[in-house]
Amino acid sequence: MREVITGNGKIIKACGLEGSGCSLPAGQVGGDFFEFISCDKRTVFAAIGDVMGKGFHAARLMETICHMLRECARINPHPLEVVRRLNKVGGYELRKCGAFATLCLLCYDGIAGRLTCVNAGHHPPLLLSNGRVRVAQCRGVALGLLEDYLGSGAEEFFLAAGDAVVLYTDGLVEASGLGGQRYGQERLKEIVRLQNGADADRMKQNILSDLETFTRGFSQKDDVTLVVMKVTGKAGERSGD
């Protein structure tokens, strides 16, 4: 995996996929996080989440959850098992603090062109394919709320070259503009739909630019984290990035 880190952002290229993510804090540091994890030559994970709370405490818990996520992916990289295990070990840490965390985990297999999604209380990803945007259906209870993870299971998609996936935190869709109006998922879907042809980093910048236009002049309550992934090659031709 090739990775470039710039301030709050990160760009990766791996397994026929390019990914670009960033986390923009709103005032006091919060618990938003995103991660790209490369397991082997054919698979890459992308995760996004939000630990309950604000400040040093939430940031420290977020670091713990990220570390455990990497460990869980290393022990058994099956996405559903990663989330189940993380809910056990990370959930224990969260419960000790009376907290919980949302997580959406994606695993992309560059040989099969298969994207697997498991959700623990997070906004489901948007998928852009041929100018059409759809919302993944996977749902689940956030990490730390129950001893055993409970969710709709792993949802799978087969992606073609040019298809893109967008992950985001609630700070994006709940951002407020004129008259207290929310940015909302519908506006996000529309701006994503218009990104056909743009690379992952350009898509991310265009979405953030639209958000900035919407929220200009209004202070925001929550961090905004956004991750865009785009398939750059055909399935089966992707291990040599």
Binding site: T102, V141, A142
Partner: protein, 106 residues
């Protein structure tokens, strides 16, 4: 309106806390203390006037539900505005409430 205003109505065996404003990280303790202060068997939280709830607010409500269920009491959340219901549904809030009601140690 910033902050949260709590109006209290008491009747036999039940207290209702009506919330107005924004429930977030900065004021969840205020509501938590109010929930724990009342000895009634049923504590009802009325969200009709709530404009915003963040993850700290949702987490606190679930921890208080667990706390009351363990004592054989009930936390009831009523009049939830649609946009708040959607946010709570996302994290599995109602599923957790349902499970805690039958097993507070889940």
């Amino acid at each position: 309106m910033k902050g949260v205003e709590i109006r209290i109505r008491q009747q036999k065996g039940m207290v209702t806390l009506e919330l107005e404003g924004e429930l977030d990280f900065s004021n969840v303790e205020q509501l938590q203390q109010e929930i724990q202060r009342h000895p009634e068997e049923v504590v009802e939280i009325d969200l009709q006037g709530l404009l915003f709830i963040d993850s700290s607010g949702a987490g606190m409500l679930l921890s208080q539900a667990r706390y009351l269920y363990r004592q054989g009491r009930t936390l009831r959340i009523v009049n939830i505005p649609d946009f708040i219901r959607e946010d709570l549904e996302m994290i599995g809030f109602f599923k957790v409430l349902e499970i805690l009601e039958s097993n507070p140690n889940a």
